[in-house]
């Protein structure tokens, strides 16, 4: 009689979690491959303007970034509220732009230099005077390919 009786425990069987690490690893590899590390910590306000005639800026290793805008509130004590340029992780003046371009070029392989693009990430409220000064410096440094980085949207939102 008891021969046919199955051993029965009153509790539910535990869910098998043996494949959980596999799933997590899969996600992990996806994010590892898709990750691009943040290069610069912004020191300035950086609300980009809207535009709709945009092109994608691929190949991140061939892009040099120049940021400009008002310093963030916590830096305004030391750097004031006037719009400034940020190169790498520090504030810079217009005259340092050329040097920055040359040092960026130095770091790249020679055959890639003609494909280098300068991305201008400039805050909406910046005055054109500063932007023109940057452009003038870029012309002097012969870095003629530029890209005004924008958000995608109608220009009426600017």
């Amino acid at each position: 009689m008891s021969k046919f009786k199955k051993k029965k425990s009153g509790e539910l069987p535990a869910v098998n979690t043996a494949s959980l690490p596999d799933i997590v690893f899969m996600l992990l590899f996806f994010f590892m491959v898709a990750t691009v590390m943040r290069q610069n910590t912004p020191l300035i306000q950086n609300t980009l303007p809207f535009a709709d005639q945009v092109e994608k800026l691929d190949k991140k290793d061939l892009v040099m970034y120049i940021y400009a805008g008002k310093p963030l509130p916590r830096y305004q004590q030391t750097f004031g509220t006037e719009a400034r340029i940020q190169l790498n992780d520090k504030f810079a003046t217009v005259s340092e732009v050329q040097q920055f371009i040359y040092s960026e070029r130095e770091a790249k392989r020679e055959e890639l230099i003609p494909y280098l693009t300068t991305a201008l990430k400039v805050d909406v409220e910046t005055n054109m005077g500063l932007v023109s000064d940057i452009k003038q410096e870029l012309r002097k440094a012969d870095a003629l390919k530029i890209n005004y980085t924008t958000r995608t949207g109608e220009v009426s939102k600017n």
């Binding site: 979690t17 690893f25 994010f31 005639q53 400039v122 023109s132 012309r139 530029i146 005004y148 600017n158």
Partner: protein, 202 residues
């Protein structure tokens, strides 16, 4: 005989380690690629080069004032009308004889541009102009060129010009890239982007 099983390694903490790494990469990931308006700056010029003489009717002046107002051909204009005005100017085709433009669909006004190859848009800003306004104006002017190029590309090749360029830059696109490049060049010579920017006035 009793089989001795080798002791199992406890893999219970594996998931924890993997989670830790996963969260690290989740936080540091930036997925989006940047987008923007690509432009090419003019190279530095020698001082002694004499600028070529351009007839006034072939120049379309856009002035952006310090309080972000538009002055197009000496008249105040709203931003939303700029695209249409630029298209009309570029597509005018008022030239006769050698300067005639056989693909232009504009009004052929003799007071406006001769042909798209001669037509130049001149953009002047003030140093106090806001960057946002400048980008809006740039965007509208690029849009005017794209509109005309799309029209011609659709007429000749049944495809948008912007699509053609996207295909050309797409590594995975399967098709005749040589031919595509020729076609892009052809459209570009029909409507060359001649956008001149003066240095800002005060």
């Amino acid at each position: 005989m009793a089989r001795r099983s080798s002791p199992e390694i406890n893999a219970g903490s594996m998931a924890d380690i993997a989670f830790l790494l996963l969260i690290f990469f989740l936080v540091t990931t930036t997925m989006e690629t940047d987008r923007g308006i690509s432009r090419k700056l003019p190279p530095m010029q020698d001082e002694d080069v004499v600028p070529p003489i351009i007839r006034q009717k072939n120049i379309f002046t856009v002035i952006v004032s310090r309080d972000n107002q538009l002055l197009v051909e000496d008249q105040l204009m709203e931003l939303k009308d700029l695209r249409q005005a630029a298209v009309e100017f570029l597509d005018n085709g008022g030239g006769v004889g050698e300067e005639a433009c056989d693909y232009c669909q504009g009004p052929r006004d003799p007071q406006s541009s001769d042909n798209p190859d001669k037509a130049i848009i001149s953009l002047v800003n003030d140093r106090k102009t806001e960057y946002g306004t400048y980008i809006s104006v740039q965007n509208e002017l690029v849009a005017a060129y794209n509109q005309l190029r799309n029209r011609e590309a659709n007429r000749l090749f049944n495809m948008d010009f912007t699509q053609m360029e996207a295909n050309f830059n797409d590594v995975n696109w399967r098709g005749n890239k040589e031919q595509l490049k020729e076609r892009i060049e052809q459209i570009k010579t029909m409507y060359p982007q001649k956008l001149s920017e003066a240095e800002p006035k005060n």
